[in-house]
Amino acid sequence: MRSGAAVLSTLLALGCARGATFGASDQQNFAQIENGRYLTLLADCAACHAGVDGTPFAGGRPIQTPFGVLEAPNITPDGATGIGHWSDAQFDAAVREGRRPDGSRAYPAMPYPYYTKMSRSDVLAIRAYLNSVAPVHNTVVANQLPFPYKIRSLMRFWDALYFTPGQYRPDASQSAVWNRGAYLIEGPGHCGACHTPKSWFGGDELKHAYRGYALQGWFAPDITDDDATGLGRWSQKDILEYLKGGHNRFSAAAGPMGEEVMDSSSQLDDADLAAIAEYLKHQPGTAEHDRPLAASDPVVTAGAAIYADICSGCHKADGSGVPYLFPDIAHAPSVASRDPATLIRVVLQGANTVATNQEPTGPQMPAFGWQLSDAQVAAVATYIRNSWTHAAAAVSEHDVRSTRQALALER
């Protein structure tokens, strides 16, 4: 609920906003505003640009990056602290080129390397929509990075290395659905921002596109068509159901992906989700896969006993779970990701899966961190990663200990 102070600041902001330029958008052009609302959902602007209290677009929510903490700016049409005074050209440059009105560089936590694929009319539709939301007076100090990253001008070099400006160009050899999917994923959907491996400097390693990347204490899994670690076993319907409802017969969305489903993909048109599924099913996996550890390996044996004792009640002895309720971890590829961060985290801390209109249940996995030692978590995770359809590197006690420490810091 909004506090009285927030309402007051909104009223003050309304006063301040008078005389702001708002760009050229026509607030009676409802078709454009509605298109902008949809694109804003698609681009999931709200995910980062929320206020600390959740006020949409007010900015200030801290964003953890490997380089330090950033706070997303206020993008409400407030004249003093938001973007009310920006011209349309300034807004377009910020979204598609990562250039701020003062000429300085944005950090690529703002996914302009993806948004650059949008058309100018799409960007201006987003602007038109943002102009229609309530202005909020909220000053945000965006850059709280340590030296040397706090030097914005360094981003010139980053752009030179990793930023390819330019609108999406359809591939005539592919279907219209594929092209729509490609546009959505490569552009406003910016899926690669989490799911594509990054270089030391945080640039996308495009030759490994969508093969998964660790961030914010989770591993955004491989979403290529890889049978072992990606979505190879998922049909397009499975992908659509997952994005729409947060759950399918294999898996459930929690953590950052749960937020994505809630704030963005659950609200998208089925046709767009089908296009996303089509494009993902065309992303090649890797040929290199781990070999499974032997079932006789003592760690695997110990893990099997722990699994039978505490996991099999819900996930079943054969890992198959209950469709749409308890993930089928025999087939959920994410448990066999090359980086076990998500698996360790979920065993230690439990998980709140997302609840949606489509799938309102929102089942929760309880935490086991209080019950299992680091060695036991490592054993059960190693067992899961090397059972049924899976083959993946063993999880070490050290991995578990580090995750425990990181989770303690998050609290």
Binding site: G313, V322, Q358, E359, T361, P363, M365, P366
Partner: protein, 592 residues
């Protein structure tokens, strides 16, 4: 100081089964609904995670999920000439508390009452004559029939995914089900649960004695289920920790696993937990409720105005709140006038422990669920001729052993010392080869003029409100009924090959320290005459037409079954009347 809150269309008092059902139905009708719950919010992984929920000491012995007597309690006496004293530790029943209410800790036995149970007085008078009934027995007809409730029973069973075998489909008797049940419009949504060894053995022996055994209808599901609201449930794992416990596997039907996930997404639904309603407010005429007054956990007082008040707390709290709010005429057993507190009932439960040859029988009693069991219904309601026996009523009976939890399920043969080496040896020898069904004989309790509820003249709770006083004893009719049923029950264990059978009859006086069930009923009963009922056939208060009173407080007497199925069916029945009649024309739905 009292803070007045913005008005709502509906205020719901108590967010258990009936509160959740009414909240769902009335939000669907577009109304703005607030539910006020005395206890805490509870959800599966936080409050009954499967890696710690199976803790008998914490939940069964120390009653963690229940109301704490320090918060409020009741006074009790057997006879009207005694002085009632406060209950300081729960015994005969367990008052629920918190979101989900009794729906969290129940065993999920999901029965329907017999068609004749709804016309008890008419039916028994027609068959046996009015003189057959004891003169002080105050049983009466419900004002609603089985046929009217059938669609609502069905609705609840499909909400919960109830597992069972139909015995009567549209009038056709079905093999393997209960042939005595009323006709049901369609089969159970999921098949009956698999039965463990002892339950199967009981069914075999019962069939050989000429009975028709059937699996107990269970809200612990035999398989995964998706209900009509698209809420998903998992299959039961037979962990044997149901009654007194929350289910960590999403497999026991509860408000949490069937309704609340949908309710909490609705913008026109709001819930306040840890807030206790202290009074239903009425206007100066006393004929119209204006809302409720409640206190939060810090003692701050609030007033919540509303157009419609749904009283959906547990049986005895419903009665207490009506008395404290001065709604309806309090029952006076001496003058035999008034209705609030009248026809209070419980259940007549007894058991048989049986001991088998440990070299031949290994029952593994820990493989169980709360509603597992094979039952017979030959001795329930009026399914048998009571003429020769001199009593009325009855109950189902069955091998319904729901657990092998070590603190409470450690039967030893009669004559075993209570402690020491000989006790240890007997406990060890018997654990796997003895049977101890929880509520083996599930007998009815009919209503009497001197069994009732009123406000205690002496004791008060933490908010200075008079405690509710329970005056309750068993009458000869129930003692006879129980002796007859318990003997019949024991015969089946004998036929199973038990070497020793120990009958534990239910006897007078009613013992407030000995757990029977939490099936307290009556006190604000439904009926067709405002002189003998507090609410009409739609559970609408005769005195305050914008107040509806849910729950077993409306039962004029208790039948020989677990009440939840009927409680929920009545809630849907009442909700339908509110939606289709009351909202269009607010006022009395039945003219007195």
């Amino acid at each position: 100081m009292t803070t007045k809150l913005p008005p709502k269309d509906v205020v719901i008092i108590g967010l258990g089964w009936t509160g959740s059902i009414l909240a769902q139905e009335l939000t669907e009708a577009g109304l703005d609904v607030i539910a006020i719950e005395r206890g805490p919010w509870r959800n599966t992984a936080t409050n009954f995670a499967p890696n710690y929920a199976q803790d008998e000491l914490r939940y069964r012995i120390r009653h963690e999920l229940f109301l704490q007597p320090a918060q409020t309690t009741f006074t009790f006496r057997n006879k009207m000439d005694q002085t009632a004293l406060p209950i300081r530790s729960w015994g005969a029943f367990m008052p629920p508390n918190g979101v989900g209410g009794g729906g969290v800790h129940w065993n999920a036995e999901t029965f329907r009452f017999l068609p004749s149970d709804f016309t008890t007085r008419t039916h028994l008078t027609q068959r046996y004559g009015a003189k057959f009934l004891p003169p002080d027995m105050t049983i009466q007809d419900w004002g609603v029939t089985y046929d009217e409730l059938e669609p609502h029973y069905d609705r609840f069973e499909y909400l919960c995914g109830t597992s069972g075998t139909a015995g009567n489909l549209k009038g056709e008797i079905q093999p393997g089900g209960n042939p005595f049940e009323g006709p049901r419009s369609r089969p159970y949504p999921t098949p009956a649960q698999q039965q463990p060894f002892s339950h199967t053995l009981f069914a075999k022996a019962a069939a050989e004695l000429g009975y028709k055994p059937f699996p107990q209808p269970s809200g612990n599901l035999s398989q995964a289920y998706t209900n009509p609201l698209n809420v998903r449930m998992g299959p039961c794992t037979y962990c044997g920790f149901c009654e007194w416990f929350g289910c960590g596997n999403y497999s026991k039907a509860s408000p949490q696993t069937t309704l609340l996930p949908v309710l909490v997404r609705k913008p026109n639904f709001e819930a306040r937990d840890l807030c206790e309603v202290t009074r239903i407010n009425t206007d100066s005429t006393g004929k119209r409720a204006t809302g409720v007054t409640f206190v939060d956990s810090r003692g701050n007082e609030f007033m919540q105005p509303a157009d419609l008040v749904i009283l959906s707390a547990f049986t005895i709290f419903n009665v207490q709140l009506l008395l404290l709010s001065k709604i309806g005429t309090p029952y006076d057993p001496v003058a035999n006038r008034g209705v609030i507190g009248r026809n209070f009932t419980h259940q007549t439960i007894s058991d048989v422990e049986s001991f088998f040859d440990k070299s031949k029988f290994i029952f593994n009693p820990f493989i169980a669920s709360g509603a597992i069991g094979m039952c017979i219904d030959e001795f329930n309601g009026d399914n048998f001729d009571h003429g020769p026996h001199g009593f009325v009523g009855g109950g189902y009976m069955g091998q319904v052993q729901t657990n092998g939890r070590p603190i409470q399920t450690l039967p030893t043969p009669p004559g075993t010392p209570r402690w020491g080496a000989k006790w240890k040896e007997a406990a060890r020898d018997s654990y796997l080869s003895a049977l101890k069904p929880g509520t083996g004989v599930h007998g009815s309790m009919y209503s009497y003029r001197d069994v009732y509820l009123d406000l205690d003249p002496t004791y008060r709770d933490r908010l200075e409100r008079p405690l509710l006083r329970i005056t309750m004893d068993f009458h000869e009719n129930e003692i006879k009924q129980n002796a007859y049923l318990t003997d019949k029950f024991a015969e089946i264990f004998q036929a199973m090959g038990a070497k020793q059978v120990h009958k534990i009859y239910r006897k007078a006086p009613y013992d407030i320290t000995d757990y029977q069930t939490t099936h307290l009923c009556g006190g604000a009963v439904m009926g067709t005459d405002p002189k003998t009922s507090a609410v009409n056939r739609y559970l609408q208060s005769w005195d305050v037409p914008n107040l509806f009173v849910m729950g077993a407080s409306g039962f004029p007497q208790n039948a020989g079954y677990n009440p939840t199925g009927t409680v929920a069916a009545l809630a849907y029945w009442s909700a339908q009347a509110i939606r289709s009649q009351y909202l269009k024309n607010p006022g009395p739905l039945v003219q007195a």
